[in-house]
Symmetry: C2
Subunit: 302 residues, 2 copies
Amino acid sequence: MNSIKDQFIKYIHALQDQICSGLEASDGSATFEEDNWERDGGGGGRTRVIAGGDVIEKGGVNTSVVFGKLGGMAMKQLKVDYEDFFACGLSLVIHPKSPMIPTIHMNVRYFEIYDEKGEYVNGWFGGGTDLTPYYLDKADAKFFHTSLKAACDPFGEELYPEYKDKCDKYFYNSHRGETRGIGGVFFDYLKPTAEKTSEDWMQMTQSVGDSFLPIYSKIIATHKSKTYTPVQKVWQEIRRGRYVEFNLLHDRGTHFGIKTNGRTESILMSLPPTVRWEYMNEPEPGSREAELVEHLKAVDWV
Amino acid sequence: MNSIKDQFIKYIHALQDQICSGLEASDGSATFEEDNWERDGGGGGRTRVIAGGDVIEKGGVNTSVVFGKLGGMAMKQLKVDYEDFFACGLSLVIHPKSPMIPTIHMNVRYFEIYDEKGEYVNGWFGGGTDLTPYYLDKADAKFFHTSLKAACDPFGEELYPEYKDKCDKYFYNSHRGETRGIGGVFFDYLKPTAEKTSEDWMQMTQSVGDSFLPIYSKIIATHKSKTYTPVQKVWQEIRRGRYVEFNLLHDRGTHFGIKTNGRTESILMSLPPTVRWEYMNEPEPGSREAELVEHLKAVDWV
């Protein structure tokens, strides 16, 4: 049998192919372009970007498989005592053209640490997904969360509530007092326990990864033919500014990548295509824009 | 005679008035709107913003006078042992509409720390200014740096080279391997020494503050009637993305403000109005866009 590591590498590459094909089908016009890159120090990645589509204004679906030595900063952030590491993962962010379709992020990853002799010390899975609408559709929110619950439940009914809570807390713009979007799930440091093997955690992580395409394809299909006004597009661009603020001010993944000399263009591929900042932009009370902002907090959507 | 503190508070308010009038005259169309705000814990500020002008697309000229207790995070960042503080300053960022006119930032500030009995422990001046062009005009760069040298030289000819070097190092997007713009001056922790009193440092800081309006008014006048293409506007928006990256990823002032629960809308007033991120945007070799990027490093402009 293949190691967990080998199985998960194979999985993320297959998932990348599946997701890119699925998104191209949903878009109907644009296609992904691929950039293969190598990392000084070990490994590399496959960055796939799509832009200017009928549905997707900008998006990226990246995989990377890297290994080597962690720097002191990275060891501190990961709270590990050894410098030899292996990491692989898939990370995606899709920014649709229409403000009627939410932005989505999804990520699955696996990490291993080795001692001075190169022996395995431990390994853990992590990942998550969250949805960032510009106009709230409560049916979408319920569908998104119900689907994630269904993906997690086979591995323990306690998982979804825990991961949902972690997501609300993690994707939080503290300086704005609001969540990035309507949440989802977030999990990290999933290591073997008395009840769960690495294999179990891998399957759980894959279950979340596999849920992405059916969820987002359905959300696109629901909203893709809706019309919108230039004013609604401006609102989307202002909200995209909050997305940028989160990713650059608060996101640990972005900071980790930047501080460890990751590939800047792959890390910042998550940033939206066109963005706006206006001083003191506040939606009118009672408007659909205000309705969205009122729901940017922990809400039980299931 | 008034204390240094009282004199500098008076100075920044007069400077704010003078700069806002001068910029309105340069713009010829838009005017500043004022927001007065109070800070929980002590003090407040006067935020003045301008938007949608013929010359200025978005800009802010803010003053604040705040005091009270520093939190642990702020004490650590400022490397001080006491929690009672006073701070006042003027901070401005101007984002012009035309990509032919550079963005500019300027800031002057004064800080005091007190012991448990409320006795003055020490005080220091800080500040700086830097210019961020979208198309390089070497005459502008030389004029900008020569003017700053002239502002600093009366207080010691060693100052400009030192502050210029600090500026190149501070306004640096390490993840891009480029400076934010073509530099300027940056100084901090200017405390009394054997040669210089607080009064001397105040005058030096004011000399830099006073230089802003004549410098920028001339730069605006030089370029305001130049035409530009939509493609050049897109280039400006992409470069504005780098400005956002610096302010949110690296700027200590922004992080300090966010972490100490500063007024978010005043802190992020520095962000540009419309911004773009494209994957792997690289200027064509030999183009004017490439010329700019080649000069985003420490250059001796004087």
